[in-house]
Subunit: 320 residues, 4 copies
């Protein structure tokens, strides 16, 4: 079979460079070790793998390279891997080394992930499913990696709540309460507002061997909405969740800003040039459409806006 | 080209009858005339068209029959059609007549549809998109048709609200209000609860030339949830929508039962053997999963359960 | 918290029976033991769980019943489970026993599943992902179960191939070959035709404790198309796959009939009243739309059509 | 209602700038005038509308701004609009002018679109549905616009075909044909290979008032695959489509390069700094996964690679 024609190595009809040539929709089993317990979970993950292609080569020889990519994936998943961005980084490095004509290899991965959570009052144990993803781009000598998660939570609208609170105060005055009493009571009450499922997303891109805790990312997203959501809520749990969400109303903008603040606080050791993307989508219960907010920035920019760049500088001092 | 082989007319390898052979994912422009205004809307609709196939014929000759189906669709959409189940009925009848070996033809159609709605306080005009669908099955001599819609609305949970109301009453008592005052006030207050997008669905299957108002179906679904949703809400509108939803809390079960009641009330002339399916999915804001309820029944069964079968009988008297 | 109001136990506003009340989109980890190796795989599966609800009860008390359903699921997944329809059956039985007001419980489950396959020439090992599903309905005293799979394969069109073959024969005659030589050669040649991804689906519903081999179902679907598809094909593998598919052209109808024949052959011990659904969708490369075929029947009907009911009767003789 | 609290204008808890705040999933009717006929089609399009938000403002006041956005959309769609990127540009300009605190407004739109096409032999008329999209970003003084389309076609693999052709030649030699005859015949024959649906995508971003023909973009994508796909093919049409595709085999890389060449040829007047993205996804019939290729570049870069930059320079001379 050695004599089979190598069509891919021919000159293409038009000498155009290609930015990405590869595969999408590749499903593979990936073992993920979870922080909170010993045994790893084997998850079906969805991969995309690309290389660039020079203008003098017809094809990326995918019929031969499928094999390389697959071998790399198989081998890479044979040991428990917790850090999925490092898994992508390793695949990208090897794919690049196997394509002599390529200068850049890119790997993307998406998966579902399970976290253990217990309900707030009755402490009933449950599992929540979150979406996780990672990417890596390998070029000669260095790899840029990205990791992130998307988590569902609950958001309650502060604007509608303020309008409703105004009405409650007026009602209380008609009952004979004093202005002060009315204000105090209305302030304490979990006043009605529209609330809904929200989806928070954080991605972090780093340029070196540094790794980022996915579990920390997930916790930050959960805590940046009005409340977490739960698989199983007994009645006292449900009451507390509703009360908490109404005592912590959040615009879609607030969710993103809270993520930024918590991220800066939690990832003190991330370098200033780490690229951060924060997104929130609220599936508003009063509309068919969604509310959306996003911030794309470096860690350094977020630190500067929050006035924590001094501590960041301070933090860097030992390095000098 | 007359001599091209007719592979489809051959004997199949295994003499198995087929229930459905046909096409899915066929997108066609359909003109829909709306009740509320003169000019029709041209919508891209998704069709499925099937016939049955006897065990002695290899293929439904789709290469030739594509043409028939397409011609029928083209011709049928050339006149303003408001009644989409009758459009499906006509296609099914013609498809059946063109397939000499078939005893049954089936057509399904899905589309988006626009309804004009204005906001509740400021009367701001807006458009809402709803999903509509229709089906028809033609056999020798008769056609069975189905029409329906799926509409997004807002639901507020009665159970969480009762628990929260209990807490409000206790708070009011500590403020020095009497038991009676506390109860009265808590009863009037739009007490906080979890609320969310819900999706209500009604389908109605009838056996004769009878047609069913799609706009009526859509209105029933909208009015069976805690509140409608809107494209554009100014601040006073938003306050009223939140208040209404909280004054009209509905379990997923309540939505289906309310649809049943309103359907029986609105479609007095539907025969007792019309088959009704009612569904509701609530995308609960406190969970990642959804709450679901469904009723499948005949109009006669729904009337009997609601105690309106007498009026139904009475209604039928003139026909005898 | 004992005194919290039990809103669900109230009378509903409208006394309508409900066919299904429950949850959709419930994601749970399920351990699946694979036939071909020792260690189980833990997969994230998607569940739906329903009960019926009488007309005199407002809600299915989902806030309390969530707990029951979750406990049942947790417990059921704590032991290696290979037979997913029996997992659904067990959940349905227990859910029914916990809802004193329900007469029927229904459980549906969907998941991805991994099968090991090697390429046809170079025997390169690879994993293929298939979709699997199971359902169970429990009523007093008995459970009806269903299990099935959907698998991607390759189909090549026999009709276009015959037309192309006709052209090849004419060309060969102009080269000076005899009629016989031209026919022989054209018959051997893997003549070009449109080919594409197809999706085959089999579901089997049985009424007793009987279980059905999911791996057998998957193999039947794979072998009923023109060729299987593969994750990794080296060049000689790819050539063989293309050749095999072109030597085994299949209409969408042929795929369903082949599944029927192979099913009757492979599941000799399935009772005549087992309900079978066979579907095939071909994503035809020459169209934007798909070709579709389906057969719904009992095993008895399929056996009768294939003329194997005698052996079936013979098989049953010992039972009398 | 003037006294309702303006929560959005408050200081946010954390002074973080936001890159994008707005709405997603907004469905609106858009009138599209087609090149090939007089009457416009009204299509349901999906919009996203964003502005940026400074760090000292809690919310983008979506409750009030919804109104602005909606009005702009309503008004903009009241006249026949063919050029969808200009529609997005106009919305972006107006949204920006209504948000005194914003420095940037962004609008995205997606829709389906209908093109009329007739089959290649029998000239049977038919409609094809393609996906179209447009975007615009408005900043003080200028607007950057993007327009594009995604079209389904058919691709046949050149590599598998060469291997099959090799086998055909060997067979022909055994029939007694000379080397030359065998080569000639094998070269003419539409030799079998795997073929499948492909999806080509072109987007073009321009910086000024310049508009780009969407119909031209669609034609280029169609002509860059092995063959177009059709809604209705009579038997002679189907034969010709299969033959054409097999006489024009294309790797996923070839499709992108052909799009580049045809784009440079067709859009002579596009400036060198126009940003082009070209993508192709082939849903390979022999795999579960897809083959993918992409090129992102400026028109100037594509011209340079194709050696057509001289004519481009020549073209620009008169402007100096």
């Amino acid at each position: 079979m050695e004599t089979l024609p190598d069509v891919q190595a021919c000159q293409p009809e038009y000498p155009i460079n290609l930015t990405r040539v590869g595969l999408t929709g590749v499903k593979k089993l990936v073992k993920v070790l979870r922080e909170d317990e010993g045994r790893p979970i084997v998850l079906i993950s969805n991969f995309e793998v690309f290389v660039d292609l020079p203008s003098d080569r017809k094809g990326a020889n995918l019929s031969r390279n499928f094999e390389v990519i697959d071998e790399v994936l198989e081998e890479a998943v044979n040991e428990p891997v917790y850090v999925i961005e490092e898994l992508c980084g390793e695949i990208a490095r090897r794919v690049l080394s196997k394509h002599e004509y390529a200068t850049r290899a890119e790997v993307k991965m998406k998966s579902e992930y399970i976290v253990e959570r217990s309900s707030p009052v009755t402490r009933t144990a449950g599992q929540e499913v979150v979406d996780i993803f990672a990417e890596a781009v390998a070029k000669a000598g260095h790899v840029r990696k990205l990791v992130g998660a998307e988590v569902v939570g609950m958001t309650a609208c502060p604007c509608a709540q303020e309008i409703m609170r105004d009405q409650v105060r007026k009602e209380l005055l008609t009952l004979g309460l004093s202005q002060e009493e009315a204000f105090d009571f209305a302030a304490k009450l979990p006043v009605a507002t529209h609330n809904q499922r929200g989806r928070g997303m954080i991605s972090i891109q780093v340029c070196d061997r540094r790794c980022v805790s996915l579990d920390e990312i997930i916790k930050i997203i959960e805590r940046s909405m009005s409340s977490r959501v739960f698989g199983l809520l007994k009645r006292p749990d449900e009451a507390l969740v509703v009360q908490r969400a109404h005592n912590n109303p959040k615009f879609v903008e607030d969710c993103v800003r809270t993520m930024a603040q918590k991220l800066v606080e939690a990832f003190e050791d991330l370098p200033d040039d780490a690229v951060i993307v924060l997104k929130q989508v609220n599936e508003e219960s009063i509309h068919q459409h969604n509310a959306f907010a996003e911030r794309s920035a470096t860690m350094g920019e977020l630190r500067a806006e929050l006035g924590t760049e001094d501590s960041a500088s301070a933090r860097e001092v030992p390095k000098r």
